[in-house]
Amino acid sequence: MNDATPINAKERYSAGVMEYKKMGYWEPDYQPKPTDVIALFRVTPQEGVDPEEASAAIAGESSTATWTVVWTDRLTACDKYRAKCYRVDPVPNAENQYFAWIAYDIDLFEGGSIANLTASIIGNVFGFKAVKALRLEDMHIPVAYLKTFQGPATGIVVERERMDKFGRPLLGATTKPKLGLSGRNYGRVVYEGLKGGLDFMKDDENINSQPFMHARDRFLYVMEAVNKAQAATGEVKGHYLNVTAGTMEEMYARAEFAKELGSIIIMIDLVIGYTAIQSMAIWARKNDMILHLHRAGNSTYSRQKNHGMNFRVICKWMRMAGVDHLHAGTVVGKLEGDPLMIKGFYDTLREDHVPQSLETGIFFEQDWASLNKVMPVASGGIHAGQMHQLIHYLGEDCVLQFGGGTIGHPQGIQAGATANRVALECMIQARNEGRDYLNEGPEILQAAARWCGPLRAALETWKDISFNYESTDTADFVPTATAA
């Protein structure tokens, strides 16, 4: 328990300005309670600011403090409500950066509200002058607080049961071009992709209801395509209908229309906000709908290492908020993603218990207490020739989305879809047979390409395409690091 440094009340509460450290926001002896919410920040103090004072200030500004002493603190159990920074370590191999561990009492937060949690944790503090930059790296959410959230509307297991698809990643593609197609032409792309062998097609993040194609028109043509492809293959098929709109009223209206048409899945964008996401998750649970979340906007604050927040925190919040799908990186594709960091994201979305693992960026052990699992989605610059690497890095419980890698196939969209599906199935077969599929991957694909023309053409078209750029978001600890 907390043996707080004894505070002399008379000195502590005399009017004026006082160091945050002395106001009770720095307690190096504090032992976090099992019910505490813990946040880990990367702090870059301004020149001349002591790291512990900067970290205490963050604890203060993200909980009860203001810039000066207020006597009204004494009307409350203020020791309890003060967030407590209890540890500050220099970041390995980084100049003037510090990791600060801050514990928050559970009573500081409203149950079941990401908005309330984030209003404290990433509220005012990021603009605070005493720090040059600030990044929220990770959070520990106590089970007591976790259980106040619904969690994913459907979850990986039930999604698979509804889709009747097991033992392999699901396959998807985003309709391209993402803007400009009429409803009729759009549905054509959807039908071709699904009939060719994909499980899902997808609206892109910015396709809502525009002059070239209004939402209702898109929904009608897309559902014609989905149902026709289902009859053509005997398989359950789906298309993520993006219901993102300017108001909740309009989002609900679009979701209801999707349901009326028999869609099994709808989609929202991260930019609609945490409360809107939670509302849509409740709607999705109630209406037997899978909820896909596109992480539009996240890189504005998750990519740079010194400021903003790490995507693993978004993964945590979105699992709590209740989405079923979340784009979480490809490792080998065109978008940002260090393999170890991506593993940390995928574990956070999919595992029931995530141990501390500094090399994958997981600072805190997290018990998910049977909250449903989120299906990670790998999308952006991936193609059939990388199938062995994708399965190796991402595992089988994910959606692999080949947009350009399907629609850009030289023999057409159906052929592109078939190439991806054959590549996937032959790789899963090889993996299950115990083959060293990561190293033998190219041969396994070539063997299938001998009887599958579309796969042959895909491998030929994209044979050497890769995106080998250095990641900006990497681990601060080498794999041998142990937890302190």
Binding site: V157, R160, E161, D164, K165, F166, G167, R168, G197, L220, M223, E224, N227, K228, Q230, A231, A232, T233, G234, E235, V236, E260, L261, G262, D352, S370, K373, T418, R421, V422, E425, C426, I428, Q429, N432, E433, G434, A448, W451
Partner: protein, 141 residues
């Protein structure tokens, strides 16, 4: 048409050796393997008939293949047969792998029925052509 339900339907039909390898993979993961058959290929026909109960305590895929041989003796040609593996682990407690081992020679496919409703709204029904015949009399002729 070819019904492409199951994990490996886009690959050429598996040989017995290939089925054995997949069954052994399931058993090595401590999953219980089950055989199921049906002559109703509708994509939402969840409950295929069970060939006995799941094989909870068989360590060797040879045992699964013996059951498959017995199942085939009665149903091959007139039914779809699939191999399904159940994982009882907490947090999953469902199927981990499911693939078709046998299918009828001719697969007539599905009719899509469109019921025109208000506006341009459409209600869709997927109906297997073969489902017009009673169960047990499909794919027999």
């Amino acid at each position: 048409m070819r019904v492409t339900q199951g994990t490996f339907s886009f690959l050429p039909d598996f040989t017995d050796e290939q089925i054995t390898a997949q069954a052994q993979y399931c058993l090595d993961n401590k999953w219980a393997v089950n055989l199921e058959y049906t002559d109703d290929p509708h994509p939402r026909n969840t409950y295929w008939e069970m060939w006995g109960i799941p094989m909870f305590d068989i360590p060797d895929a040879a045992g699964v293949m013996m059951e498959l041989a017995a199942c085939r003796k009665i149903h091959a040609g007139s039914k779809y047969i699939r191999l399904t593996a159940f994982d009882a682990t907490h947090g999953w407690e469902s199927i981990r792998l499911s693939f078709i081992t046998d299918r009828p020679i001719n697969e007539p496919g599905f009719m899509i029925e469109r019921q025109e409703r208000g506006g341009r709204n459409m209600a869709y029904t997927t109906r297997a052509y073969i489902a017009d015949k009673p169960e047990g009399e499909r794919y027999t002729g």
